[in-house]
């Protein structure tokens, strides 16, 4: 990315047919701390890395509940993300009020995308500098969407955005085929593993990350720190004992799936991304 004479405002095309301001907005997303999402047939898990400005300050909120059946994780300009979350909440409330039923996720992301598009075609506006991972449940099942500042949106089985997200994406690409039929707890463990990839050697603790779950019979909620720490402890033990994976699996939590998690953790120490 370099400065050129076509990037001053969003309403100027480059000769190559690009809108640089929009692309710069997408760069802002890549600078934010990581957020990941993954889904099964019945549940979606969102996770994010908590980055605090300094030791003295608290970390910014990056996961927002939009409605009982929809939640969003953001990366990039968190202020823009907050404003868009408020918009999404309003849309859900208004739809519920009029139709006495929950807003289908697919419709919400289209509205969001259209809102983002407006900012790419007005000289007095700038694009939103935030990427949103929208997790939602509706009649057609569990969905995970990614909305970008360009006004595009895509549906994913699993995705990661923000800084060092490539490491998480590599992990998710390796594991995603097992997600559709995974249990809720396995999904959360996979989310924690993916977050660990982005930390590049830093210890994974519940103070460093936030996890949220939404699923069939389970309204969107953010897991509390104690629960998250328990789940980290359950698979972190397995992860350290790479040799006797079976023994480690039994030693860990009572769930039989821990053995599967143990085997994956052995190969889970992936080559770190830059």
């Amino acid at each position: 990315m370099f400065r050129n004479q076509y990037d001053t405002d969003v309403t100027t095309w480059s000769p190559a047919g690009r809108l640089f301001q929009v692309e710069y907005a997408m760069e802002a997303v890549k600078q934010g701390s990581a957020a990941i999402g993954l889904r099964s047939k019945t549940h979606i898990v969102l996770g994010c890395v908590n980055k605090a400005n300094s030791e003295l300050s608290s970390h910014q909120k990056k996961i927002f509940k939009v409605d009982d059946h929809i939640g969003v994780a953001i990366a990039g300009l968190t202020a823009d993300g907050r404003v868009l979350s408020r918009y999404m909440r309003n849309e859900c409330i208004n739809y519920s009020f009029t139709y006495e039923s929950p807003l289908p996720v697919g419709r919400l992301v289209v509205q969001l995308a259209d809102k983002a598009q407006v900012c790419t075609q007005r000289s007095w506006k700038r694009p939103y500098g935030v990427g949103l991972l929208v997790a939602g449940l509706d009649e057609s099942g569990a969905h995970l969407y990614y909305n970008c500042p360009s006004g595009n949106y895509f549906e994913y089985q699993a995705f990661a955005i923000g800084s060092r997200s490539q490491a998480a994406k590599t992990y998710l690409e390796r594991r995603f085929e097992s997600f559709t039929d995974a249990s809720r707890d396995d999904l959360v463990k996979d989310a924690l593993m993916a977050i660990r990839e982005t930390l590049q050697g830093e210890t994974l603790k519940s103070s460093v990350c936030t996890i949220a779950v939404v699923g069939v019979g389970e309204p969107f909620h953010i897991l509390d720190q104690a629960t998250v720490q328990q789940m980290i402890d359950a698979f972190e033990i397995v992860g350290e004992q790479e040799g006797p994976a079976a023994a480690a699996g039994q030693e860990a939590s009572a769930e039989p799936e821990a053995e599967q998690g143990g085997a994956a953790a052995g190969e889970g120490v992936a080559p770190m991304d830059i």
Binding site: K65, R89, N90, I93, N94, S96, F97
Partner: protein, 223 residues
């Protein structure tokens, strides 16, 4: 040429009575389940009671279409509050919101006569009573609707609360225990349904206390 009067009214009265009684650590809210229009019964099983928040329940008699619209408005506003404050609205907060919502339509009112009941921030029972345009007051007990003129004097007599007409204003929360208050509510509705044609069929009783919210029903005269 006599001035033309409207031959259509946007309002109707669906009848029914509501009662709420506040105790030291509980609140009882009750309403009958009959919905009428004119001299006809529309249904014997309509709930006039709506849970607005964790510790806050509203019963409304009057025009049920307006009541339903009012309940939806409050529910939506409560959701917004929860998103912004990360907690449920307290009963006194909801009481103010209800008053503001009603007054907002001062010049085309909600034809809704409400009693709000629940626990305040200290866990003590509280009841708020309203008129159609939002004038409200915290009281120890109240009744609204077609049977209110029959019910209120009975409650004044039986609840052993200090008189609401005394000055200085005293807290009229009843010293009765929960079981006694519920019993009184059942008696009161049984009597009201004898004389008021719009009250009857069934009572729905909702009790709010520290353990949560529970609901019970009692049969009334069907005539």
């Amino acid at each position: 040429m006599v001035k033309q009067q409207a031959n259509w009214s946007p309002y109707d009265n669906n009848g029914g009575s509501c009662v709420a009684i506040a105790g030291a650590d509980y609140c009882v809210i009750a309403a009958d389940t009959r919905m009428s229009t004119g001299y006809n019964i529309l249904t014997r099983e309509y709930s006039k009671i709506c849970k607005l928040a964790d510790k806050c329940v509203m019963a409304s008699s009057g025009f049920q279409a307006d009541v339903k619209a009012l309940q939806k408005q409050l529910a939506a506003r409560h959701l917004i509050y929860q998103h912004q404050h990360n907690k449920q609205m307290s009963c006194p907060a909801m009481a103010q919101l209800l008053s503001n919502t009603l007054y907002y339509k001062r010049f085309f009112p909600y034809y809704s006569f409400n009693v709000l009941g629940g626990l305040d921030n200290e866990g003590k029972g509280c009841v708020f009573t309203y008129d159609a345009v939002g004038s409200y007051e915290k009281v120890g007990y109240s009744s609204q609707g077609s049977g209110s003129t029959l019910i209120t004097p009975f409650l004044d007599n039986q609840l052993k609360s200090p008189s609401p007409l005394l000055l200085p204003v005293q807290d009229a929360v009843t010293p009765l225990v929960e079981a006694e208050a519920i019993d009184l509510v059942k008696t009161v509705f049984a009597s009201a349904s004898e004389r008021d044609i719009y009250t009857g069929d069934k009572i729905e009783i909702v009790v709010v206390n520290a353990t949560g919210i529970r609901r019970e029903y009692m049969e009334l005269r069907k005539d």
